[in-house]
């Protein structure tokens, strides 16, 4: 029997999805499961985007342009300009999700055995994309005690080797909800310039910032034009996770030229989803105001409810729609599985994402979980109550 490759073996299982079979079992037993485990919002997709697809007059569902149509890229540039990101259509390659944008970025700037530095905890699939590209993730641990702020820049500098090609951040962060200050972005910029590294920023949660704090894009930093690469996606912005449309943005046209070759090899992004994404740019500001208001309320309610549980430490996220919590358990993987397998209260239980999968340092984050506040307030409150009851009853 021919063998799977070492790379195939090393591909990590999704930490968010590995509990899914237990959730399915729970549902089969008739238990209602509240899903705080995934970043799938319950927010409605803008009607203008859905209508564009419903009212299409396509007769032949043809390939789109590999890099995305000029019209769509021009409109995207206008959107970015409104967010103090001065780019034009030649700086953009449309991709099949933010996932593909990151794959193209890594494929363009790294070779087998290269390294990228990422503050941890980080979005778990960065591990998978790194394994797929044959590169190594060098984590720099951030701490729940200061809300997962940027670790001291010296900690980054110490890890730089000739194999280091980039620093990758997610801003605002998944899973941390941390929003980098301009001062922190400037520290990263100076480091990138000093060592001639790329600074890749996954900014798919740009819109979701709270407490009146401003988002600072790596693309707005003067002098960083050759070094900055932005990853973006329509998934969260318009609650269109199933569109699978994103883009890679850079003023460095060697990067764009190379990403285009990857884009051409896979021919095009999905045509219906491109229609929806282009139309979504017409979404009225009111939609965002309402959505941000809703998330902000959920965030406050969730944090304040979590803070009331004894021995639970919770971070104070300023962006995205996640928060990290430290639980009085030894092994949050086991606890999360136990909640699905053995626990219920009045026929209900809750599913969370154990945080260990968001760390690449072995053993880190073992008592932490990520909570996505993508449910309505009542459901959030009930979920936290279930969590509290489960912690009381957990034998582990």
């Amino acid at each position: 029997m021919p063998k799977i490759s070492a790379k195939g073996h090393n591909m990590p299982e999704s930490p968010i999805r590995k509990l899914v079979p237990y959730a399915e079992e729970a549902k089969k037993r008739g238990t209602r499961v509240y899903h705080l485990n995934i970043g799938q919002p319950d927010i409605k997709t803008p009607q203008v985007a859905l209508d564009a697809v419903k009212n299409n007059s396509i007769e032949v569902l043809a390939y789109a342009r590999s890099e995305g149509s000029e019209t769509y890229r021009k409109k995207l540039a206008t959107y970015y300009q409104r967010h103090q990101i001065d780019v034009d259509e030649s700086d953009i390659i449309v991709t099949t999700g933010g996932s593909e944008a990151l794959l193209f970025a890594l494929g363009s700037i790294t070779d087998f055995g290269d390294q990228i530095i990422i503050p941890e905890p980080f979005y778990a699939n960065y591990n998978g994309f790194s394994v797929a590209n044959g590169i190594e993730v060098i984590p720099i641990e951030s701490s729940i005690d200061n809300g997962f702020a940027l670790p001291p820049i010296e900690a980054f500098e110490k890890k730089i080797t000739p194999k280091t090609k980039a620093i990758l951040i997610c801003n605002p962060g998944n899973p941390t909800g941390y929003l980098y200050s301009e001062e922190e972005i400037i520290k990263l910029k100076n480091l990138a310039l000093k060592h001639d590294l790329f600074l890749i920023a996954d900014e798919v949660y740009r819109e979701f910032v709270y407490d009146g704090i401003q988002h600072h894009s790596v693309m707005s930093q003067q002098g960083l034009e050759d070094h900055a690469i932005m990853i973006d996606s329509v998934s969260k912005r318009y609650s269109m996770c199933g569109a699978r449309i994103g883009c890679i943005v850079s003023k460095n046209h060697e990067v764009i030229k190379t990403a285009l070759k990857y884009a051409q090899a896979r021919l095009s992004s999905p045509t219906f989803a491109l229609m929806a994404s282009e139309a979504a740019l017409e979404t009225p500001q009111r939609y965002f105001d309402d959505v941000i208001h809703e998330y902000d309320e959920r965030r406050r309610i969730l944090i304040s409810a979590l803070e009331k549980i004894e021995n639970v430490k919770v971070s104070s996220p300023k962006g995205a729609f996640y928060c990290m919590a430290e639980l009085p358990v030894e092994d949050a993987d086991d606890f999360a599985q136990w909640m699905l397998e053995k626990f219920e209260d009045k026929g209900e239980t809750v599913m969370v994402a154990p945080a260990s999968g968001f760390y690449s340092t072995p053993g880190s984050g073992k008592n932490q979980i990520r909570i996505a506040y993508v449910l309505k307030k009542e459901s959030l409150l009930r979920s936290v109550e279930l969590l509290r009851l489960a912690l009381d009853q957990y034998p582990g």
Copy 2:
């Protein structure tokens, strides 16, 4: 300025798309360009697939399941069973195009520096996917003189090293139109079994076979269950290139388990396109009968017109919708570009795909082109006339 990686540099430019700027210039000059260069059919997408999307009642465009829904995979299995391919839903991972299916396959079974053997000429993007995976393509040249039949199996065996992980075929072939006989498939099967290699077959043109000849899938070969991997796509079957839905199929569940990890890392395939693809399985047989009849007529008309041009050698394709032609020119890349830049007849010219990009042996196929018969008969005839006139006038 930080540098693009060696891999990024080595990613090949799409040979089909590199002439696009010249075609665009020609159009700007007012010249009508007949496109024989890409596999984008003019055939209408089945109405049942388009309707499924038009009549959708989605309010939140959510992620789909990473591996595709159970319903869709079950229906796909039923479709395959009708084609003498005995698989069930557990043998299938739905992907974002056939492209992604091949990426998942290569990512699952190869490591950096490994080799795959491919009869050439082959679909140009196999090069790109190989570079992206850090593996080497070992070509075995087939010849226009026998219609690009399978080269002697000894030629394959000679190239097998400890780094060889798979043999990859496209059946029916793009760009050759060649349809492998069962005898040829059995030869490949015996070689794969003898050396414990995977046999990957890109069968996206399965439906497009002519002259009453039968298609033989690697998935129908007894004893090859652990070794066979099939790549498939809805793109050509339903003229839905813009859907970007495909799948990887194998009875080897180590392969499927590994491909699933890649699928989870990129979250899901596009939701609208999945709806269209599932509905497309309801397409009445009549649609295919009409489409195959149309392609078959085009094929006959095209081949017979090409054969009438002096010093043009043309293969006799039995499947897909491409044919290869050898022209009395030294450099078909230059000739194809010249047709777009310098040639026109009554305001019209033609765009073809130079074949050099379908070979990985340097210098091979330099006087060949690939013609896609994806246009109506009158346009095909006019295109061949333009080709004949261009050959007369070409100074190169």
